[in-house]
Symmetry: C2
Subunit: 390 residues, 2 copies
Amino acid sequence: MEPGIATRMQYISPFYVMELLQLAKQLERQGRDVIHMEIGEPDFPTPKGVLEAGRQCLHDGQIKYTAATGLQPLREAIGQYYFDRYRIQVAVERIFITPGATGAFLLALGSSLNPGEEIIMADPCYPCNNNFVRLFGGTTQYVKATAETNFQLNAELIRHHWNEHSKGVVVASPSNPTGTLISPDDLKQSVEQTLALKGCFYSDEIYHGLVYKDKAVSALQFSDKAFVINSFSKFFGMTGWRVGWLVVPEAFIDPVEKLAQNIFISTPTQSQYAALACFSRENLEELDRRAAVFAERKDYLYKRLIELGFEVEAEPQGAFYIYANCSRYTDDTFKFAKDLLLAEAVAVTPGKDFGHNRENLYIRFAYTASVDRMSAALDRLEQFLCQYPK
Amino acid sequence: MEPGIATRMQYISPFYVMELLQLAKQLERQGRDVIHMEIGEPDFPTPKGVLEAGRQCLHDGQIKYTAATGLQPLREAIGQYYFDRYRIQVAVERIFITPGATGAFLLALGSSLNPGEEIIMADPCYPCNNNFVRLFGGTTQYVKATAETNFQLNAELIRHHWNEHSKGVVVASPSNPTGTLISPDDLKQSVEQTLALKGCFYSDEIYHGLVYKDKAVSALQFSDKAFVINSFSKFFGMTGWRVGWLVVPEAFIDPVEKLAQNIFISTPTQSQYAALACFSRENLEELDRRAAVFAERKDYLYKRLIELGFEVEAEPQGAFYIYANCSRYTDDTFKFAKDLLLAEAVAVTPGKDFGHNRENLYIRFAYTASVDRMSAALDRLEQFLCQYPK
C-alpha cells in the first residue's frame, strides 16, 4: 500500500459492482441500451407531496443548519409513525435524524464499537456493514447463513458464535441481498440473547414498508435497548436526498448527540423538511401502491428466474432483490455478470459484493425496473444462457 | 461511563456553547429578544440563483444517488474555480464532493490516520478537528499559538513538535476562532516541512473568500500532495445544504473513493445541483458584495470591542469571528458568557470550545448579525460590564 494510507483501508472493500457500472456506462456511450438490474435504488421518482415540501422549503432561502439531532417535528413524526405502524411508543429523544442510513450506522457504531471488538452478522449481507466496523477498528465475524434460517441469524447462532471479543450483532430484515425476513420469534430471541450477553443489537430496518406478504417487525417491539437504523431512501423513495434516522438506547442519547454534532453538524435541511411530508395519508397510500408494484415485479422476476434454471433458495419477502444461485451455469458469477453485460447489455450484481459464503455462485437481481424492462432483460438473459459458457 | 459506550467517546468533546444555546432558546420562549453572536453561520440567505437551481432540480423528482465522487460537472467547476481564483491546475480526479467540510475531514482522516498516530494543530482551533482525530483512534498534539505567529503554526513549530508518533498537521486559514491568516511564506514552508517529514498536510480552507485585506492562499499552490478541505457553507452561503469538497493527493484517490462509497453513498443530489450555480459571474459578484459587508461588520465590531476594553491580540483578517481576550473583566469566560446571556440576552461562545490555551480568558464574537443588531448587542454588553463582576 502507498505510504501514508491508513492500514484500515486494506480491510475496507470497494463495491465490486462499480467495475461493471463503469463498463455499463461505456456501453451506453457507445449507444447500447443497457437494462439496469444491479441498482439498489427505486426507479420511482420522489413522491409529489414530498417534492413540493422540498420546493416550499427552498422558497425563502433560509436553508440554515438544524440541530444535530434533527428537526424536532420530523423526530416527532417518526415517533408517531412507530405508534401508527407498530403500536409502540418511542421517546422522541431517542430518535436522531441522520444523513441516510449510512449516517445512522456511523453514529451507532462510532459511539459503541471499540477497536478489537467484533460484530456478528449473517453472510451474505450488505457490504458496507463490515466496512463501518473496520472504519472504527473492529472486526466482523461472518456467520454463514443458509435458506434453512431464511439467510438470517437466530439466537442459537448468536450464542454459538459469541466470544470474548464480541460487541454486538447486526440483523437486517428484509435482508439485502436476499430479501428475506427474520421471523418475529427469531428477532425477539436474537435481541434478548444479545442483550443477555451484554451486547449491542443493531437492527437495520431500511427496507421496512417494502414487505410483500408477511409483516416486518421492528426490534423496538421487543426492547428499547436496541439500535434501529432506518431511512427515507427506499420505501419513502428519497435516495438522493440523504435522510434517514437512528433510534438509540437511552444511555446513548448524549454520546450520539455529541458525535452527530461533530461528524455531520446537521442533516440537509431541505431534505428534512421534505421528509416531513412523507407521513401524510395521501403519501403513505401512494407508497403502499408502489409497494404493491414491487410485489408484482417480484412475483414476475421470481417465476422467470426459476423457469430459466436459477435456484432461489429462500423466496424473498421484501426489499427489491432476488439472490439467485447460478450454479447450474457458472461458479464464477463475477465473470458471468461481466460476460452478460458485454454480450446482452444487462447489468446485475455479482455475489462477491455480499460476502464470502459461496458468493461465487450467486447473483443479485434488483427489481428496480418495470416489468416491461425486466421482461426484455430476461429475454436477453435467456438468449445469453443458450450460449453460456461459450 | 455507561457500559457499552465506546471508549473514544470520553475523548470527544461536546460543543460547550450548546448549553448556552439551550438557555438562549429558553429565554426566547419567555419572550426575550436574544441577539446571537455565537453562531458560525452567515445570516444571509442562500443566493437567489443557487436557490433557483435547487428548485429546478426538484422539478422532475429524479433525485437519485450520484456517484460517490460527486457530480462530474461540479467537480469540473471546482477545478475551474481553482484556476480562475488561484491560477492553479487541479486534476478533477483529485476533487471529491462531500457532505460539507465535516464529510471532507472524515474522508481525509479516515483514509490516512492510524490509531495511535498524532496530529499537530494550533491551539486555539476548531473543536471538531480533535474530535475527528479521536474518532479514528489518533491523538492531537496541541501547539499553543500566540499573536506572535498570528495564532497559526509555522515550519519551525512543526519541526519542533514533530515526533515518532506524528502523522500530520492541520492548518486552518482563516482560522476559527481567531479569523487570522497564515502568511503565504509560512504556509509554503509548513507544507514543505510536513511533506519532508513524510507527514500529511491537511489545509482547512473553508473560510476562503471571506478574507478582507490580504488574500488567502491555498496549500495547493505549493504542493499537489496536500489535502484541502473546503465547503459551500460559509463564503457560498449554503450551510444547511451540506455540501463541500476535498482535494486529495493522487495516491489517495482510490482509497478515498472507496471510503466515500461506504460512509456517504453520495452527497445530497439537489445540493450538488444547486452548488453548480455558485460559480456564475452574477453569483460570485453577489458573494463578493456580501464579503464586503462582513468586512464592514468586522471593522465595526473590532473598534467597539477595543473601546469596551477587550484585547484583540491579532487583528482578524477573515472568516466572521473576533477572538477577544476578556482578562480585564474575568478569568472564567464560560461563566461570563452565561451571565451575559441571562442578564442582557446576548449570546457569545466561550473560549472553552476552542482548546486549552488560556481558553478561560477568551470569548469568540461572531459577526454573523447586522451592524444594527451588533450595535444593540454591544450597548447591552457595555451595560453589563458596568456591573461585572457583581
